[in-house]
Amino acid sequence: MLQLVTFSILNGLLYGMLLFLLASGLTLIFSMMGVLNIAHASFYMLGAYFGFQIAKEIGFWPALLIAPLAVGLIGALIERYGLRRVHAYGHVAELLFTFGLAFIIEELVQMIWGRVPVDYRIPAGLNTTAFTLFNTSYPTFRVFILLIAVAVFGLLMLLVTKTRVGLIVRAALTQPRMVGMLGHDVPRIFMLVFGLGCALAGLAGVIAGPVFVTQPSMAGVFGPILFVVIVVGGLGSLAGALIASLLIGLVQTFAVALNVSIGTVMGAVGISSPPLLLDELWPVTIAQIAPVVPYLLMVLLLIFRPTGLLGRRM
């Protein structure tokens, strides 16, 4: 049991940090530009594929650097030549633009790399076991991912709190118009932030690719959960995004570990007999509905506290 708990925590943290790598960029973009970038997970996928290709040609370590930059560049270009012109038509149009973008990127990836998962392996150097607890080995690469994610979080916080850019960004979070008034080239900032966000997603892709499966559907698998994260965390709050990511990471892993059925849970809260038509839900175990839980959380939160846990605006 203790073993289960320990490793659930470890895996929950890992999954959470990966989520955060994506969510941080997404929430930055959203709160600055008011754009809910539906294609964000697609950039994560691009990162994974670029990582795979570059790792194959040159090696994993260069890939770790180049792939995110490339993705970031693409993101910036898309912002400059696509999103910016749509901006004039308002947020709905921007939302729909990224929505279509996700479509295209998925097709492009299939066009280039095919529909079969690509053979993106953990680099030999990191394909070892970091430590062994209760005769269960924990892979080094997962530790490595954790470290990277933590490092990025640190850097991001430094960037936002210590640097001038960060100052402007934070100002733009709350007072987008005012920042423009103050003579900052807001469009350019937007472009940079968008690029940065995409680069972060790309980085997540590069390191997650070998652990998960690198295939065209990987964006679709990750995408929806991201919105849950930034909504739960509160749109525009980095700390919130972090908390939400970890929360959801842990919730999901522990929901899996539980062998409790809805019936027993409901029984615990006093609803012993299932309501009409829902009785087939009763035997369902929490583990079964684990991936559904976040959406429930999201909807409830949106209804009762749309600012999220640590949200500022909206």
């Binding site: 289960l4 929950g12 079969v116 998960f212 295939q215 065209p216 570990a257 583990a287 684990a290």
Partner: protein, 416 residues
């Protein structure tokens, strides 16, 4: 009105594309499977397989002077799309449909043909399910116009159970399946069959995971580990199977994996990547590349020569289907599918894979030997490997068709 103008143009276009002209001397076979989207990988192999088989028939002079042509129709894995594509195919003269992927489209097609053939007696159409696994298609949802050439999942589970009977080292069993009809079917059938064949085996875990929704299987692997299982039986496929094995490899989980879909595209690669030791992943299937049967290995060789060295002939059902269809057509000297299906009811045959096979008349389910194989390193030209991984299947057991006999609830409506 713009919409009217558009509608005319649109439908005109529809007709232009929809009803393409067909040459007199070709018999067209319509393959209805996902040819776009993530599921397309399997659909495309299916299409290549049938085109390959049609090519063989044509090389041997075609059927009754007619050449075979296989045309693909993209149903996007969607039952409703399946119906419309079938309609399109039949309109363009197709009288034999083939399909494999997804149980919803399968049931939909049975349903569609039951009604269509009744409503349009002049256009009666036959349908071969060449790899479907959902029992429903030959039970409550069965159709006279369908023949299923692959063993359904109940049969495979039964076969696996009778195989495990001989596996003394299986003591603690963990069931790990997708939370959908097939997965639940495996779960149920495994429990009943094991209770009957191996009451001593203890089922230490029983998981139903949502399909294609889980990103990280590590937590599940921890759970399996904690349960102390020595054998896992899983109906997971594609992405889920890949992620599951990967997580298991990482966490150093050492158990025997008995799978039903490990021959699926990408799965051998996933096994290879997972870092699991060789010959710990097993599959039970109608065939594998390294069967004893010379005839089958020959066919496998030709197939790979055409489609590519890495791609195994993953639809043995289609081979039997094509063999039996052309045999019937030649014997009856006709391509009237109504006559052919009538003659195929209850027919016996010798699968190229070896052993005996027959088409059960009650539900049009084909019975044939099933093979248990494990995957591991294959020396060059000592056999075929899978997806150029250097690993290939090695047979470790065969299950006679008699041991896969499951009853059917099919009440078949035969045309008068």
């Amino acid at each position: 009105m713009i919409n009217t103008r558009m509608l005319v143009l649109a439908v005109a276009g529809a007709i232009a594309c929809g009803s393409s002209v067909q040459a007199e001397d070709t018999f067209r076979i319509g393959l209805i499977d996902p040819l776009s989207g993530p599921a397309a990988t399997t659909g495309e192999v299916g299409l290549k397989t049938w085109q390959f088989l049609a090519g063989e028939v044509n090389a041997s002079g075609g059927l009754n002077g007619q050449k075979l042509e296989v045309v693909g129709y993209d149903n996007k894995m969607n039952p409703q799309e399946t119906a419309i594509q079938a309609q399109k195919a039949i309109d363009s003269g197709v009288r034999l449909l083939v399909r494999a992927n997804g149980s919803a489209p399968g049931v939909a097609l049975n349903d569609f043909l039951n009604k269509f053939n009744e409503r349009n007696p002049t256009k009666q159409t036959l349908y071969f399910d060449y790899a479907g696994a959902d029992p429903a298609a030959t039970n409550e949802k069965c159709s006279y116009w369908q023949i299923r050439w692959a063993a359904n999942i109940d049969m495979k589970v039964l076969a696996l159970a009778s195989f495990l009977k001989g596996q003394a080292d299986t003591k603690k069993l963990y069931l790990f399946n997708g939370d959908y009809s097939t997965g639940q079917g495996i779960q149920k059938a495994m429990r009943t069959n094991m209770a009957e064949k191996r009451p001593d085996v203890q089922i230490v875990g029983d998981e139903l995971v949502p399909l294609m929704k889980v990103n990280d299987f590590a937590p599940y692997v921890e759970k399996i580990k904690a349960s102390g299982a020595d054998t896992v039986v899983t109906g997971a496929w594609g992405q889920d199977l890949a992620l599951l094995l990967k997580a298991a490899g990482e966490a150093g989980l050492r158990v025997k994996w008995y799978t039903f879909f490990a021959q699926g595209i990408g799965s051998p690669t996933a096994v290879r990547q997972s870092g699991l030791p060789s010959h710990t992943v097993f599959q039970i299937y109608e065939a594998h590349a390294n069967l004893p049967s010379v005839a089958y290995r020959e066919e496998e060789k030709n197939f790979r020569a055409v489609v590519g060295a890495g791609q195994t002939m993953m639809y043995p059902g289609s081979v039997n289907a094509m063999d039996m269809f052309s045999k019937a057509a030649r014997d009856l000297k006709t391509l009237d599918v109504a006559k052919i299906v009538a003659s195929l009811e209850g027919a016996k045959f010798k699968p190229r894979a070896g052993g005996d096979g027959w088409i059960r008349a009650e539900d049009h389910q084909v019975f044939q030997p099933l093979y248990v194989a494990s995957i591991g390193p294959i020396e060059k030209d000592k056999g075929f490997d899978e997806e150029n991984t250097g690993w290939g299947w090695r047979q470790i057991g065969e299950v006679k068709p008699e041991d896969t006999l499951v009853p059917t609830t099919c009440q078949m409506k035969r045309p008068q």
